[in-house]
């Protein structure tokens, strides 16, 4: 590969990245603004970070979001993995096509519809809207993402590993926990992370399914912004960006290292 940096190339790269990242960079810069006015630069300061941690409303919302995210991602991971197992392993049961279509429908379903239908359901069965209903709603819509990720891994899974385990005396349940689960664990972890992230930044479905006392961070930010953006919100968003960025970078470094280590091991093994 021999990239020649023509003026056209440079321009399009700069424009593309500016389009993607300029708003975020602005947000980060203004989170360090001394001034109370969001769009006027008044010198560097970290005071909004301090006041953010003293803002009980935002902190409560963050805590709710975190709990909803962890619980819903965990439950969705269990259900999504089970669905993926059923869909890849028992390929001949009645209504498989219908079932797999139904599992993946929420992927393309407009969030407004998912949210509204969940709301109707909760009202119909008389569930008071609150922490439980948001969590249930998030399990519902993140489960299919987990199923997709885990199913992709199971497709390339060598079934003879399971046969070998059974051949060596492990009954099906033990085989699952000692062989299948550890081998597909990376996909399950990615599924969990995906579900957690989706739950973390969901606004639409949470707005429908949540009730008093269970305001999530995106809902809180959205409602505050309608009253005017404060530098505190900028600080909160910057922290969220930092958490996500650190997570993504750490995950890719770990992956790269493992890949590199594996290649080196394989080369060493080939040499004898």
């Amino acid at each position: 590969m021999n990239p020649t940096w023509s003026r056209f190339n440079i321009t399009s790269v700069v424009l593309g990245f500016a389009f993607l990242y300029l708003p975020i960079v602005l947000l980060i810069i203004f989170s360090f603004n001394e001034s109370k006015l969001v769009t006027v630069w008044g010198g560097f300061s970290t005071k909004w970070y301090g006041s953010l941690f003293r803002n009980q409303g935002l902190m409560d919302a963050a805590w709710v979001t975190l709990r909803v995210g962890v619980i819903s991602a965990s439950v969705a991971t269990v259900f999504g993995t089970l669905a993926a197992l059923a869909l890849t392993r028992y390929t001949r049961f009645r209504g498989r096509v219908l079932f797999s279509g139904m599992v993946f429908a929420p992927l393309v379903m407009p969030e407004v519809i998912t949210g509204l239908s969940l709301l109707l359901l909760f009202v119909a069965v008389g569930l008071d809207r609150g922490f439980l209903t948001v969590t249930l709603a998030h399990i519902t819509f993140t489960m299919c993402f987990v199923a997709v990720v885990v199913q992709a891994r199971l497709m390339s899974f060598d079934r003879s590993l399971e046969e070998a385990a059974m051949d060596l005396g492990a009954p099906p349940v033990k085989t699952f926990f000692q062989v299948t689960l550890p081998v597909i664990a990376p996909a399950i972890v990615s599924g969990w992370m995906l579900a957690f992230t989706l739950s973390l930044d969901d606004l639409v479905i949470a707005s429908f399914a949540s009730g008093p006392g269970a305001t999530t961070l995106p809902m809180k930010i959205y409602s505050q912004v309608r009253l005017g953006v404060t530098p505190e919100i900028n600080a909160a968003c910057t922290l969220m960006i930092a958490v996500v960025a650190v997570g993504v970078i750490a995950a890719s470094i770990v992956n790269k290292r493992r890949e590199f280590q594996r290649q080196r091991d394989e080369q060493a093994a080939q040499r004898g």
Partner: protein, 379 residues
């Protein structure tokens, strides 16, 4: 004393009418959808036998092995192991272990943990597991690799881990699915003899599935030739090679020349056979072929002599032209085209460094063979 091939076997329970089969397939049929993988097949395997299932793809050999291991169940018929019907017994309760073609090593476990996996399932105490694992790794010469993961091993080492893992539980029977398929030629030849030694020293019954006839010939006490889910022949390697039961078996194992013809006359064991072109050959051991029967006389290339002149006193001799030659060092392969167009393959061992009767391309040449050089095939 005459014996087929050049081997005298002392281990031959299949010839002993009082010997009981250890594994037996009784009228086993396996149907997948509308495909019959195994078709009403019966087969007996004896204790401590090294038994090979040989066939092409789709011959049903792997299905037989999988049914024995318990991963598939027969559609009809039954499989007996040591007098016990295996029907309904899940794979994890069968006293046999399998070595998989892909090796199926658990990628998240070390070599040690892989080898000890089966013992752990049995609930063996940790100290005993460690001792057995060490013993197994010593057996396959992988002691220093105990802490490695499978991806840190070469293909040959992985194969040996798979082997150690499958014999760690001291199964009564070891099933091997194309055990040497993924190894290169040199390693394969070494490993063949290692497997035979292992089978001898552990006193196990081995059932190996292979598509490689050389592998089966080298290792097995007996070979079953399979085609389209049916058993073609079960016999020792020497019998398969020197006395194939049908044209299919003769063609499947090794090279063969077929002299097709009709039996003209029969006198005790001797028959005169007239070929399509009118040439007559005399054959011995004609079996039950009666006058008028269409038969094939199958002769292996090394039992055909090639010479520039008609050998004196030769009973069966035909003239042709040297069509192709291949000098392979230890032997030379001749392809001679006869007057009727049939190409005969003959091979001569180069037992001395120079030849008295050198031939070259397009020479006139005679091929000759003894009446008992081949076998009469009616099927």
């Amino acid at each position: 004393m005459k014996s087929l091939g050049s081997i005298r076997r002392s281990f031959a329970p299949w010839n002993d009418p009082s010997a009981k089969p250890y594994i037996s397939f009784e009228n086993v049929t396996k149907v997948f959808g509308d495909f019959t993988a195994v078709d009403n097949l019966s087969l007996a395997i004896y204790e401590k036998e090294f038994f090979a299932l040989l066939g092409g793809s789709g011959s049903g050999k792997s299905t037989l092995l999988r049914m024995l291991a318990g991963f598939d169940n027969p559609t009809s018929g039954r499989i007996m192991l040591d007098g016990q019907d295996l029907r309904g017994i899940p794979p994890y309760r069968r006293p046999l272990n399998m070595m998989f073609q892909s090796y199926a090593l658990f990628p998240h476990m070390t070599v040690e943990a892989n080898v000890g996996f089966g013992l752990k399932q049995e609930g063996m105490p940790k100290a005993d597991i460690d001792a057995r694992v060490a013993e197994m790794l010593k057996l396959v010469k992988l002691e220093q690799f105990a802490k490695r993961k499978p991806h840190q091993l070469s293909g040959g080492q992985r194969q040996r881990v798979a082997l150690a893992r499958s014999v760690a539980k001291r199964p009564k029977v070891l099933l091997l699915d194309e055990p040497l398929g993924a190894l290169d030629k040199k390693l394969r030849e070494e490993t063949q003899f290692e497997l035979m030694d292992l089978q001898q020293s552990l006193g196990l019954t081995f059932v190996v599935v292979t598509h490689d006839q050389e592998e089966a010939m080298t290792m097995a006490d007996r070979i079953a030739i399979l085609d389209k889910g049916q058993l073609m022949q079960v016999a020792t390697p020497a019998e398969i090679y020197e006395a194939p039961a049908s044209r299919f078996v003769a063609n499947f194992v090794g090279n063969v020349n077929m002299f097709e013809g009709t039996v003209a006359s029969r006198d005790a064991g001797i028959a005169r056979v007239t070929g399509a072109s009118g040439a007559e050959i005399v054959v011995d051991n004609a079996g039950d072929a009666a006058a008028g029967n269409a038969i094939a006389f199958a002769v292996r290339p090394e039992k055909i002599k090639v010479s520039s002149k008609r050998p004196e006193g030769a009973v069966n001799a035909m003239e042709g032209e040297v069509y192709d030659l291949a000098y392979l060092g230890d032997m030379t392969v001749y392809r001679v085209r006869l007057a009727d167009g049939q190409v005969i393959q003959a091979s001569a061992l180069n037992s001395s460094r120079a030849s008295d009767d050198p031939l070259t391309w397009h020479d006139r040449a005679w091929i000759s063979f003894q009446p008992d050089a081949g076998i009469v095939l009616t099927r």
